[in-house]
């Protein structure tokens, strides 16, 4: 009974391990593009004002494939979420040479965030061909921009994105004030018109 129990645990562990391996392999396979390229994005220098968006290309994959021709470019994007709609805005691009791709190269651009908080970045490796650029691979990452771009002391850093902390109450306060202004305006109009109309009627009847 004890042996059977141990066998079961062993089988479960083996199956779990197998499943984990398969999932990892599948994930790796999914991240490998059509040309067999693999692209990862890592973001460095979180404490500096400028953000270094650095992309590392896998040497092993590129060296195994024939990437001797063509030219490549890494395009960098930041996700904007204004007006409740999401969209990618290109913040820069860099041409990547084939030898660099074959030598586990790193390409990087600097980007100066305009506010702190979560920012989603994307990098796309594009194979450039005449009139038909194809995205070979892409990678997305969320980066927490800690440094206030205006140079606010790091110890006092909170999210400096406009109106995220006090905004809720400030917005409500301003909207209430605005509503009061509208109510006052129309009250005055109605009061004046009503008073004039009533008094005029009384005088005419008299």
């Amino acid at each position: 009974m004890k042996k059977l129990f141990l066998k079961l645990i062993l089988c479960t562990l083996l199956l779990t391990g197998l499943a984990a391996t398969l999932v990892t392999a599948a994930a790796q396979a999914a991240s490998v593009g059509a040309n067999g390229s693999s692209l990862t994005v890592s973001l460095k220098a979180p404490k500096s004002t400028a953000l270094s968006l650095s992309s590392t290309f896998s040497n092993s994959v590129f060296s195994n494939t024939a990437l001797s021709n063509g030219s490549y470019r890494a395009n960098y994007f930041v996700q904007e979420t204004e007006f409740a709609s999401k969209g990618w805005i290109q913040v820069g691009s860099i041409n990547v040479s084939v030898p660099a791709l074959n030598q586990n190269a790193t390409s990087a651009i600097t980007y100066e965030p305009t506010w702190t908080g979560n920012e989603t970045f994307k990098v796309e490796l594009v194979e450039l061909s005449n009139g038909n650029d194809t995205v070979v691979s892409s990678s997305t990452t969320v980066f927490d921009v800690l440094k206030d771009p205006s140079g606010f002391p790091e110890s006092e850093i909170n999210y400096q994105r406009p109106m995220t902390q006090v905004g809720k109450w400030l917005v409500r306060g301003i909207l209430t004030l605005l509503a009061l202004v509208w109510i006052l305006m129309f009250s005055v109009l109605i009061f004046v018109v009503n008073r004039i109309s009533k008094n005029g009627k009384v005088m005419l009847n008299a």
């Binding site: 917005v171 605005l178 004046v192 018109v193």
Partner: protein
């Protein structure tokens, strides 16, 4: 004035050269309604046709821009904000100037304001509508305007801009309408039973049985006082929020703490100049020299120059604060000595120094001088807005060359259409409403405005001369006394 009789209705003769027996009330009423009663002359039709053509050309240019994109108006990725936002600020600015000038004069009980307030308030209403309309060509794609309502972004100054302009526009409409109530009643009485349906609605319905009783006057006065008090902070908020659309961006030349008062004063300055121009135009066009005198222009001229000096000081404060640190001086170099220098120095000489000299010297301190100075103030303040927008918008933030903006026929035509729309709408508007508030003019007469007091002094001088033989020099009256007034006194 109690509107119970149709005394004025019988007077259908040409009243430009008034008869000797006219009373002050009849004079005021006739002059106020000159734009409505007299059939428009040839000059009116020529002007309205030409202005209409410019507006049509503007609409065609906008359609062209919709089809070909903002590039057709000279915009590019390095000049993303340019002429249209300068137009928005300029038009809403002059509106603010008109409304606040009228509100302040009303609140401080300046009786000399009476012949000016209607023109100032009408100008405020017309220009805020035109200024608001310029947001559409500025947006490029007008359908995106709906996003501000559907997806309001409370952290964006643009949303608050929209709210502030909307609130201010409604307040301007009420501010314009309330003093019209007594005049609507006068017009309604004059038209009698012959009124057409639209006239019945416009004049009878909107006058709400106005008879000029004390209670009605009190209610109107109270309402106007509240709206006058309200419109000043509202107008300040509009221009402050408008300035934050620039100042809250991380862009040297725009991210300035001085911007809200800077914009507010510029609006008041250009607005006062525009009031002068509108008043001068209607004064000449409808021969209102008897009521709108040199004194009105001189006072507006003083006000204009005082505001101009404050604005000059703020311009200096803005430049010296940024320039002294030397951190972000690219836009200052561009403004003062670079490619925008001719525009900047045009503003300094034509928009600041010229009005000061015109008002300083007695020889030029007259209707013509102040009107010419006002033309330069309005134009140079528009140029100044361009100087605020363009150098900061076109400077590179990371690396690379400066961007540049070039006017195209599209942007010029659309801007000119906006300019033409001001006199066009005002000329049409005053075909339906009196040129100045009859009620306020009468009150001013009863209170004894400067012109009236001066006229009375002349009468006294004449009586003294008749009975004592003494020559007494009285101040020259701007209001020409009628025979009945002279005899009566």
């Amino acid at each position: 004035m109690v509107v119970m009789d149709n005394k004025i209705e019988s007077d259908q003769t040409d009243i430009v050269d008034s008869d000797a027996d006219e009373t002050w009330v009849n004079d005021v009423t006739e002059s106020a309604m000159r734009s409505m009663r007299n059939k428009p002359g040839k000059a009116w039709w020529v002007a309205i046709t030409l202005l209409g053509l410019v507006i049509v050309a503007g609409v065609i240019a906008w359609i062209y821009q919709l089809k070909h994109g903002l590039a057709s108006a000279g915009y590019n990725d390095r000049a993303f904000w340019a002429v249209y936002i300068a137009d928005v600020i300029t038009f809403i600015g002059v509106s603010y100037g008109g409304a606040v000038t009228s509100a302040i004069l009303r609140l401080t009980g300046q009786s000399w304001r009476a012949p000016l307030t209607r023109l100032a308030e009408a100008m405020a209403l017309v220009t805020v509508i035109i200024g608001g309309t310029f947001i559409f060509p500025h947006l490029g794609r007008p359908d995106r305007f709906l996003n501000i309502v559907i997806y309001p972004n409370f952290s964006s100054p643009l949303f608050w801009d929209f709210m502030a302009i909307l609130t201010y526009t409604v307040a301007t409409m009420i501010f314009f309408y309330l003093p019209l109530i007594p005049d609507m009643a006068v017009v309604s009485k004059m038209l009698g039973e012959k009124k057409k349906l639209w006239q019945k609605f416009l004049y009878s319905s909107l006058s709400f049985n106005w008879l000029g009783s004390e209670k009605q006057k009190k209610a109107l006065h109270r309402g106007l006082t509240i709206i006058s008090l309200l419109i000043i902070p509202l107008a300040v908020s509009v221009h402050s929020v408008l300035s934050w659309a620039f100042a809250l961006t991380s862009r040297p030349g725009w991210m300035e703490t001085v911007f809200p008062p800077y914009f507010v004063i510029a609006a008041l300055y250009s607005g006062t100049a525009m009031v002068v121009l509108v008043v001068a135009g209607f004064r000449k066009g409808y021969k209102l020299q008897r009521f709108i005198t040199d004194r009105h222009f001189v006072r507006l001229g003083y006000l204009m120059v005082a505001l101009g000096l404050v604005y000059l000081y703020l311009t200096f404060a803005d430049l010296v604060t940024e320039g002294y640190t030397g951190i972000t001086t690219g836009w200052i170099k561009q403004t003062v000595t670079g490619s925008y220098a001719p525009a900047f120095w045009f503003y300094v000489f034509a928009g600041e120094l010229l009005p000061i000299f015109v008002v300083a010297f007695k020889k030029t301190r007259n209707v013509t001088g102040i009107t010419v100075a006002s033309v330069f103030v309005v134009i140079s303040l528009w140029v100044k807005r361009l100087v605020i927008v363009l150098p900061a918008a076109t400077q590179p933030l990371i690396a690379g060359a400066w961007g540049s903006y070039h006017f195209t026929w599209v942007s010029i035509t659309i801007t000119l259409a906006g300019v033409a729309a001001i006199p066009f709408l005002l000329m049409i508007m005053f075909r339906f409403i009196p040129l100045f508030s009859i009620e306020e003019m009468e009150e001013a007469g009863e209170l004894g405005s400067v012109e009236q007091v001066s006229a009375h002094t002349q009468v006294l001088a004449k009586i003294l001369a008749k009975y004592t033989g003494l020559e007494v020099t009285a101040p020259k009256a701007s209001k020409t006394l009628t025979a009945s007034e002279t005899e009566g006194k």
